[in-house]
Amino acid sequence: MKRLAGRRGLVALIALAAAAPSLFAQGPDPLAKLDTAGRALVRSLVDSARAEGLPSEPVLSKAQEGVAKHAPNPAIARAVRTVFLSLRQARNTLGPKASRDELTAAAAALQAGIPASALADLRASGHGKSITVPLVVLADLVTRGVPRDMASHTILQLWMGGAGDADLLGLPKAVEQDIVSGAAPGDALVNRARTIPIRLPPAKVPE
């Protein structure tokens, strides 16, 4: 009996010694500051995202962001749920071939209040080009107070007119400058959009 107990103890000790490095190697759980329900929610949403083929990093990242910003647990839960649902809606709108960046940017645009139809219009007119940047800029413009319909329409027109990523990424700062100077957000966008040249590809030479 004593020998059996001693052997079991030895096995346990060896198992513990083997596990110790990996135990110590694990960093602190980034979700440790969440309550039990919050951690469970985040983990279940991360699992669901993986199961549905959605990027799971944005879900986990939103929870980490909430912890870092000392947000209350209910707010973190709400934000994480919103990110997951936005990613799902983005996938449904843009299709299964949408890239991770497009899904992340589309989710941001949806969270900003851009309707899914605007995302679909961008995708349809993208000619296969990534619509990540127009989506990022759309989310920004609406955050600054540009009416959603005006923002969606203007960005779509610019995109269809061949505006490049650099042109679009310059819009938020330019619009902000005009807003600071006293312009209404919608007027600021319209004025700045006029300065972006149309770059349509040359028409094919007719045979």
């Binding site: 944005p58 980490q64 910003k69 941001a108 990022v136 938020p172 400058q177 100077s181």
Partner: protein
């Protein structure tokens, strides 16, 4: 004993109305410049002195106050030299327009013979095109004393400025008009026109001249450069030949966030309204600046991050990005984002206002926040922004190969 009466009450109310409604971005900066100055004035022996110049500034959202004075050690005695007290109140920009009221009392000191005091007030209307350019119209009045000028000096002018990269270019036109006591005849004994004569038959003459000046202010890293050049229009009775043209340059090199080397030289035109001749000058010295950290509760700290003047991200290797923030007068800058698992990363200060961090950021769309002196997390300026779901905002960073 202070007695309450209507004028004093009105002054107190006006002063209260002039106080900034939001002191969110207010800061007090103090500096001390110590060095050597030399100047030469035509007809006088060049003078050199050691100088000590304290400078105190308050910069609020709408109100700016400053006080600056110089003491020169010339031989064995200290002289009270240049000094200036000034204040300005600026309205917020509405529909591209803003109004500004300025007042100052100043003492100009060249040497024990050439010195003058003056008070002045000025009003400006600014037309702001954007954060990178604007223009203004101004009108004002100055009253020097203990000089031959017997009337107030009327000042009128206009200016324009634009920002080109790290440089700010400014052009001004200023017209000065005043009445002064003059000789009844000029140096060739020709009779001069007098608009009036005094009791002892001295001639009063209208004088006016106009200055056109261009200036450049350049800041990059630890170096600040200022240069001006100008030309004076006016007839020969009002503008001496040695005051038609002038130029000056000044450089500040920040050795640490609080200590800088200052060097400058140039030519100042005469100021007939203040009875001051033209002079050449040069100065070399050290400047010590104090940027006191604001304590929580005194000023909303989230305003400090909004004072970031520039934010940039540049490739620094495979999946490695150099994140740079330009902000002066702070103790710490931190960055965090999805690429740091939202763990704050302290940025390293390089130079007076440059903070930097090397971070592994893969290609794609990322979310990022910065904060200053432990304040609120804010999106970096110039980045697309979205609400973070926690009553704040987050910047969106698009990183391409």
């Amino acid at each position: 004993m202070f007695a309450l009466n209507r004028p004093s009450v009105l002054i107190a109310v006006a002063a209260a109305l002039c106080l900034p409604q939001g002191a969110a971005s207010a800061q007090v900066v103090s500096r001390l410049e110590a060095g050597a100055v030399t100047s030469s004035t035509p007809g006088f022996v060049p003078s050199s002195a050691l100088s000590l110049t304290p400078d105190l500034r308050y910069e609020g959202q709408n109100v700016k106050l400053s006080a600056r004075g110089s003491a020169w050690l010339d031989g064995n005695s200290w002289d009270f030299a240049d000094a200036r007290l000034s204040g300005s109140v600026t309205t917020p920009v509405r529909h591209h327009l803003s109004a500004q009221l300025m007042a100052n009392a100043s003492r100009a000191y060249y040497d024990r013979i050439n010195q003058n005091q003056q008070v002045a007030a000025e009003a400006r209307v600014h037309l702001v095109f954007s954060q990178a350019g604007g223009m203004w119209l101004e009108t004002g009045v100055a009253r020097p004393w203990r000089v031959a000028v017997v009337s107030a000096v009327d000042v009128a002018g206009a200016g324009a400025w634009t920002q080109v990269g790290p440089a700010t270019l400014t052009g001004t036109y200023t017209n000065f008009a005043f009445t002064r006591i003059a000789s009844a005849s000029d140096s060739t004994s020709s009779l001069q026109t007098c608009v009036a004569t005094t009791d002892n038959s001295r001639c009063l003459r209208q004088s006016h001249f106009s200055d056109v000046q261009g200036s450049v202010h350049f800041e990059k890293g630890p170096v600040e450069l200022d240069a001006q050049s100008g030309y004076r229009f006016g007839d020969a009775t009002d503008v001496t030949p040695d005051s038609r043209r002038w130029a000056a340059a000044n450089a500040v090199v920040w050795l640490t966030s609080d200590v800088a080397m200052v060097v400058g030289a140039g030519r100042q035109p005469s100021n007939p309204a203040r009875g001051l001749p033209a002079r050449n000058y040069a100065n070399l010295g050290m400047m010590f600046a104090a940027w006191p950290a604001m304590t929580a509760g005194a000023v909303p700290i989230e305003a400090r991050a909004s004072a970031i003047s520039k934010f940039a991200v540049a490739a620094a290797g495979p999946s490695l990005e150099r994140v740079q923030v330009h902000i002066a007068g702070v103790q710490s800058v931190e960055v965090m984002g999805d690429f740091t698992d939202w763990q704050p990363v302290e940025m390293v200060q390089r130079g007076r206002d440059l903070w930097e961090a090397l971070l592994p950021i893969a290609d794609g769309v990322h979310q990022i926040n910065v904060r200053v002196d432990g304040g609120k997390w804010l999106p970096p300026p110039g980045t697309p922004t979205m609400r973070d779901g926690f009553n704040g905002e987050v910047g969106m960073l698009v990183v391409h190969e």
